[in-house]
């Protein structure tokens, strides 16, 4: 460290450390493009998924438990569907035991899943960053009390807390978001607080006082912009976990009400059919969750890389 630092200060291009060359390649452009695409697609489907789905996601078709067409057939089916030679669109992912089109439900589900997960995570980010900034900048009994409360909140298992809250307050979307906020805000408080405390000891914050700034203005103007990176990285991870939590709550029946298209409900319903060999109603929503969570994680990793250099 003592050797590397003067170099970078002289403004010479410091040699980039390549200790984990493999990991670097892993986080390279291809993965980043994948991650960004997933994030973009998830938001797009949250807005327009229901509108572009080939079938109504909550209305049964006549076909019950139809398996998806074999994958080699898909190009031909796609061509036929686009050229209007089919009288009904194909059931790409098959149908479930009630005759609902799985594909339509998978692409309509982000409306519920993403709005709850993104909403919960973003509100947690803003609230947690703000409270963490206060807690890290002013250290007195009031902020200590706040930290102890957030410790207590964090001490409960995430899933149990959310279940209890939803059970008490009702299975409304707003309550689900509130549950996520209660569960995830303490993480952002703690992250921001420790970063703010570290940054406050830095010379530039001392210099900000010496130049003539005063009070909380220093926290907002100098400390906050330099304390955001850990929270931004955590945001994308949190969105991933929030998706899993939302789906998980629905899976156990404490989340979104059926028949609203939602990945957790789909897995829950589809899982009962697995024993009959009907894998498609549950596997496709499961894959959707996996890909989405992974995509957000990749973007989070990229944010971290980007801002570490700066």
């Amino acid at each position: 460290m003592s050797i590397a630092e003067p170099d970078s200060r002289q403004g010479a291009p410091a040699p980039k450390r390549r200790r984990f060359a493999r990991l670097d390649r892993f986080s390279g452009n291809k993965f980043l493009i994948f991650g960004i695409s997933v994030v973009a697609l998830s938001i797009f489907l949250a807005a327009f998924g229901a509108a572009i789905s080939p079938y109504d996601p909550i209305e049964a078709t006549g076909d019950i438990s139809v398996p998806p067409p074999p994958i080699v057939e898909w190009p031909r089916l796609f061509y036929l569907a686009v050229s209007g030679q089919l009288e009904r669109p194909p059931h790409w992912f098959g149908t479930d035991q009630s005759g609902l089109d799985v594909f339509s439900r998978v692409i309509s589900a982000p409306r519920a899943d993403m709005s709850i997960a993104l909403g919960g995570a973003l509100i947690s980010l803003f609230l947690g960053t703000f409270l963490g900034l206060i807690a890290g900048f002013y250290r007195n009994w009031a902020t200590e009390l706040m930290m102890r409360i957030s410790d207590v909140l964090q001490a409960f298992p995430v899933f149990i807390t959310a279940m209890i809250l939803v059970a008490l307050a009702g299975r409304e979307t707003g309550n689900l978001v509130l549950a996520l906020v209660l569960v995830y805000t303490p993480i952002f408080i703690r992250l921001t607080r420790s970063e703010v405390m570290g940054q406050s000891a830095r010379g530039y914050v001392q210099a900000a006082w010496a130049v003539g700034n005063y009070g909380f203005k220093i926290a907002v103007k100098h400390v906050l912009p330099n304390s955001l990176v850990p929270s931004l990285v955590q945001l994308s991870v949190t969105v991933g976990f929030a998706i899993i939590l939302t789906a998980g709550l629905s899976f156990v029946g404490a989340g979104v009400r059926p028949p609203t298209p939602e990945w957790g409900i789909m897995i829950s319903i589809g899982a009962q059919q697995l024993i009959l060999g009907e894998w498609w109603p549950s596997i496709f929503p499961g894959l959707a969750i996996t890909v989405t969570v992974f995509g957000y994680a990749v973007v989070g990793h990229a944010i971290e890389q980007k801002f570490r250099e700066a």
């Binding site: 003592s2 003067p6 970078s8 200060r9 002289q10 403004g11 390549r18 830095r202 010379g203 530039y204 001392q206 210099a207 900000a208 006082w209 010496a210 130049v211 003539g212 700034n213 005063y214 009070g215 100098h222 912009p225 330099n226 700066a310």
Partner: protein, 609 residues
Amino acid sequence: MSTAPILEAAGLSVSFRGKDGSETVAVDGFSLTIRPGEFVGIMGEPGCGKSTAAIALMGLVRPPGRISAGSVQFLGRELLTLADEEIAEIRGRDIGLIVQNPRTSLHPMLTVGNQISRVYRAHNKVSKKAAWQHAIDMLRMVGMNDPERRVKAHAHELSSGMTQRVLIAMAMSSKPKLLIADEPTSGLDVTIQAQFLDQMWETANHTGSAVLLVTQDLGIVANYCDRVLIMAEGRIIEEAPVWQFFEAPEQDYSRRILATQRQEGDGETIRQAHHGELEDAETIVRIAGLYKQFPIRGSDKKVHAVDDVSFDIRRGETVGLVGESGSGKTTVGRCLVRLEEPTAGEIHFHDAALGGIKRAAFVPYRKAIQIVFQDPFDSMNPRWTVEKVLTEPLDLHTDLNPELKRARVVELLEMTGLDAALRSSQPRQLSAGQQQRVVIARAIATDPEFIVLDEPTSALSPETRIEIIQLLMQLSRKLGFAYLFISHDLTTVKYICHRVIVMYLGQVVEVGDKDAVFAAPRHPYSKALLASHLFPDISDRRVDRAERVTLEGEIPSPVSLPKGCYLYGRCPSQKDACANMPQELRAMPDGREIRCWRVTEGDLEDAQS
């Protein structure tokens, strides 16, 4: 003394292979002969290959480097072709190595006695018990007090000075013929540094071993070395006996580093021209009875950082505040600019009493009272541009329109010798010297009257240091700033200050005119501090002095302060009465102030003359 060389290196080259297969030559044709009893210094800028060359003499190179050519004869044996086991036997037994960072060189989980005796047993067939006893003896030899207790300590229980002594004890445990020391005293306080180098010099002289010292400090070279090698870009560009090097350096480069480190040039004339004007200058800053205590968490004890400090500063004056780390000098500076709340005491700025006022009420005075920090990069918001950094004080204290602010930023950059084009750069794109210039520009943006300079040059290279000092002096002369120059670098203090304040353990022990204090320090601590400081001057080498004034041991903890004189226990001229007699700072007839009853009552002066 035999004159057969201990070590003879010829044409030693070290190269590093890059990822793309290219070879970088770090050391090129290094040749050196060391004879018994010699103290040889290697100097050069950072990155010139001096450390690499020194450890390559032991056949060691950090990967991915390799020794590409040359030979090293050690007592007549060729080292570089020896098998690994054979050369390992020589390292540690016949060649000792002391590296730069003592803290990270010790194993954190083993006692120091264990580590010293392991090294000793690796080369000598002795019992564990005998090796343990040897470790105690070695610790005693390197001046560690209470070695029986310290031998059982772990690295984290020791101060950095003691850790460094453990390393030297380890390196010398087998009485090596050659000791290679790579900047062994960087980061140590001057009194500890002097103790340590004295120890090495004694050992080399008495046992006929030799020392090879890698350093950037001309003071160390001037005071201890017999011979000096100057390296640049991997080559030796000059090799000369130390007196010849200082009297008549051959190379331009050598002349330049000599000039910068000796701080020649127009320094004296600046000072003299300045001096006369100050006689009737008004006092602008006056502090009286300043205390600062830091409570220790989870205990009712306190760290007494500043303990009854009083002094004043006149318009345009530069006052040096010197002392070792832990003396409280930085805390005094921080209290003056209200980055710390003083526990008690008065701070006057002109007629305004600022000691007790609220932090918010201090804000308007920040226009006139500024500070420059030690680490320039750290003291700027890393995400801001230079322009934004320099505009901030203007936004806070002036109501100039954006046009005028931009003009002022350009003017500030010009005043501090920077190109106006740099204003859109970010701090990390600037060199350390440029960064410090920006920080200075920020400090002078609102035309302050008084600036605290908190070790403004200690993070800079020797050449940049002198440029910054010259800039500060030039600004003060032109704009009439008063400075409180906080530093442990006495060479610079001697060069720029009008008056000097010496602090020890939170107290002022001596105040006086710079020339008077440097010519004849009177407080025992000031004497030891000045005697320990290694001025780059070969006319008064520390090793040639009949009596080397040192302090015993280390600075006591500021948590439980001594009852009487704070220097009791370390002072070379203490009397029993000092143990229980708190000392007061008394003014002397000649205008100096001294905190020692033996001096103020004429007792000590009599004893010596």
